[in-house]
């Protein structure tokens, strides 16, 4: 079913003119003409089942990109393709100029739901050290260098004083930071975050944003979120994904949005022309027209 091998995909990428930039390192993620469909129950794939259709996206070295879109719009699927967990049916994907599978240990991935059981007898440091596993040899203990990197990651995320705390005793926002620290401990060249603001209050969200901005000075960051306000107020570029994908410069909407952000605590930017799921008549995905609306009295 997924007949295209990585060799084929790489071959198709080599014909693309932007591959040169990929090799230069300016482009860290190169996605070109990617279509993806989950295998149907009957085994066949019809055109109406596409989760992603002809998606093209480049992530640059200094990027701070948000990917927004409705549930079922393909956000998580696109993330999994970048991580090499899924292989696209059509099109090509390279990360650092290589097939994702080969380089995914260089991607720091912060999942939406920590699959870490709260009842587990593991300290914050235990969790963050697990992020070093790709660098670890066999043996009982992590080496001194691994411990130092893990501690440094905790320092960067402001969680160093929690290093010996049991993971289950932390709050949601603190746990989010631990997961970011775990991702940083792997010394990634790209940071992917899946819904980092889910279930986090505005104050913690602001801290998180500051942290991400700080990290963005050295790392390209991609944030997947359905929190449109978060994405459009803090990030450099926004990609609207609903089966098809369109990228907006945030500068197009920044002025109005920022003003609204400081006046009220919550606001939403609605992309009017987002294609409804499965709309066969729509050819152009999301258009760039935006409308800024605000909701009052949601904060606190």
């Amino acid at each position: 079913m997924f007949s295209a091998s990585w060799a084929d995909i790489r071959k198709s990428c080599e014909t693309s003119p932007s591959i040169a930039a990929t090799i230069d390192g300016e482009i860290v993620v190169h996605i070109e003409g990617v279509s993806f469909a989950y295998p149907g129950q009957g085994g066949g794939i019809s055109t109406t089942e596409w989760i992603l259709e002809d998606v093209s996206l480049d992530v640059y070295r200094d990027d701070f990109l948000g990917i927004i879109g409705p549930n079922g719009g393909g956000k998580t699927t696109l993330l999994k393709i970048i991580l090499g967990l899924l292989e696209p049916e059509k099109g090509c994907v390279t990360v650092f100029g290589r097939p994702p599978r080969e380089v995914r240990h260089q991607i720091g991935y912060v999942p939406q739901h920590a699959r870490i059981d709260a009842s587990v007898a593991a300290t914050v440091l235990d969790i963050v050290l697990a992020g070093r596993i790709a660098h670890a040899r066999w043996g009982f203990r992590y080496r001194r260098k691994d411990r130092e990197v893990a501690r440094e990651a905790l320092r960067m995320t402001g969680m160093i004083q929690m290093a010996d705390r049991r993971i289950g005793t932390l709050s949601g926002g603190q746990r989010q930071r631990v997961l970011i620290a775990r991702a940083l401990a792997s010394e990634p060249k790209l940071l992917l975050l899946d819904e980092p603001t889910a279930g986090i209050d505005p104050y913690v969200e602001q801290n998180l944003t500051d942290l991400l901005h700080q990290l963005n000075e050295t790392l390209p960051i991609v944030v997947v979120s359905h929190d449109i306000g978060f994405v459009s107020t803090h990030l450099k570029r926004v990609a609207c994904l609903n089966r098809r994908l369109t990228v907006h410069r945030v500068s197009e909407i920044t002025q109005a949005t920022m003003t609204n952000f400081y006046r009220e605590q919550v606001q939403m930017v609605r992309h009017l022309a987002c294609c409804p799921l499965g709309d066969p008549g729509c050819q152009h995905g999301c258009q760039s027209s935006t409308e800024v609306t605000s909701r009052e009295g949601v904060g606190d």
Binding site: L83, L85, R104, H105, I107, Y109, P111, A114, R115, I116, D117, A118, S119, V120, A121, A122, T123, L125, D126, I127, L129, A130, G131, I133, A134, A136, W138, G139, F140, R141, Y142, D164, R165, R166, G168, R182, S186
Partner: protein, 280 residues
């Protein structure tokens, strides 16, 4: 209890039983933390029951083909079948995750049924099944003891080498996979270690009580410690105490030592629930 110390210089079986208990405690103390962190107690139970097939197989082969298999001890058959079943169960869990409980449940029953059938066809060995089901600390043979010591050495060696990888797949398997760890291989290796532990334990408390000793000491310790290392050390100490002290305490009384061990373990765990309020 005093009887135990009076008798043990004369009775080598008491020595063997004590050593077997200590070695089994060591094995489950080390493996238990991974088992409860990864929540695979059910898989350990399946391995223990499927291994009955190995007991039956070894007994029957030794009876039917004494020239080839005359020297095979049931514990060897159980070990081989337990390791094979660990690998099969690991692969089923990986590739047919949505059907895994059905398939593993079926294997559980089949292994047990085949074992019981084969023992039935082997005259004079009905007692062997009972000692495997309920343990037999009073008659641990020298050969059995050597085998348990060998399994312990393997368990300790593998754990020392792969502790970090085991921990990574126990804490967050997906993250470990993204980091490029061969998660399937590590899972199979961990299940193999669990299978060896199960064999160590069955000779002490019997397979029916294996699950209790694999989970209760580690779960008890987990309520009082924060780190994985502390849990490993604590559960090893507690398990070694549990597999020896109650056995000595009830010596000379009609209470059978296997039950005493498990009831003590369960009591300690229940007490820990009241002593310290922590989510588990």
């Amino acid at each position: 209890m005093i009887d135990f110390f009076r008798d043990w210089s004369e009775n080598p079986f008491l020595w063997n039983g004590l050593w077997a208990g200590l070695l089994a405690g060591l094995a489950c103390g080390i493996t238990g933390p991974y088992v409860i962190t990864k929540r695979i107690v059910f898989l350990a139970g399946a391995i223990a029951h499927i291994a009955v097939g190995g007991i039956g197989g070894a007994l029957w082969l030794a009876h039917a083909f004494p020239q080839y298999f005359g020297s095979v001890h049931p514990i060897h058959g159980a070990t081989i079948v337990a390791v094979i079943s660990a690998i099969v169960i690991g692969l089923v869990n990986e590739h047919w995750a949505e059907r895994s409980d059905t398939i593993i449940g079926a294997l559980w029953a089949i292994g047990m049924a085949v074992g019981v059938l084969l023992i039935k066809f082997t005259p004079g060995y009905q007692g062997e099944l009972m000692s495997y089901l309920f343990g037999n600390l009073a008659f641990v043979s020298q050969r059995q003891l050597q085998w348990i010591a060998f399994l312990d050495a393997v368990i300790i060696l593998v754990t020392l080498l792969f502790h970090k990888q085991f921990l990574a797949v126990c804490l967050d398997q997906e993250q470990a996979r993204l980091q490029g760890i061969p998660v399937t291989m590590i899972n199979l290796l961990l299940l193999t270690v669990v299978a060896l532990t199960v064999i160590c334990l069955t000779s002490v408390v019997g397979l029916i009580l294996v699950i209790a000793l694999l989970s209760l000491p580690a779960a008890t310790v987990a309520r009082f410690v924060s780190s994985m290392l502390a849990m490993l050390i604590g559960s090893t100490i507690l398990s070694c105490l549990l597999t020896t002290v109650p056995r000595i305490a009830v010596y000379g009384t009609p209470v059978n030592p296997e039950s005493a061990i498990v009831i003590t373990a369960a009591t300690l765990y229940l007490a820990s629930l009241f002593l310290r309020r922590r989510a588990l």
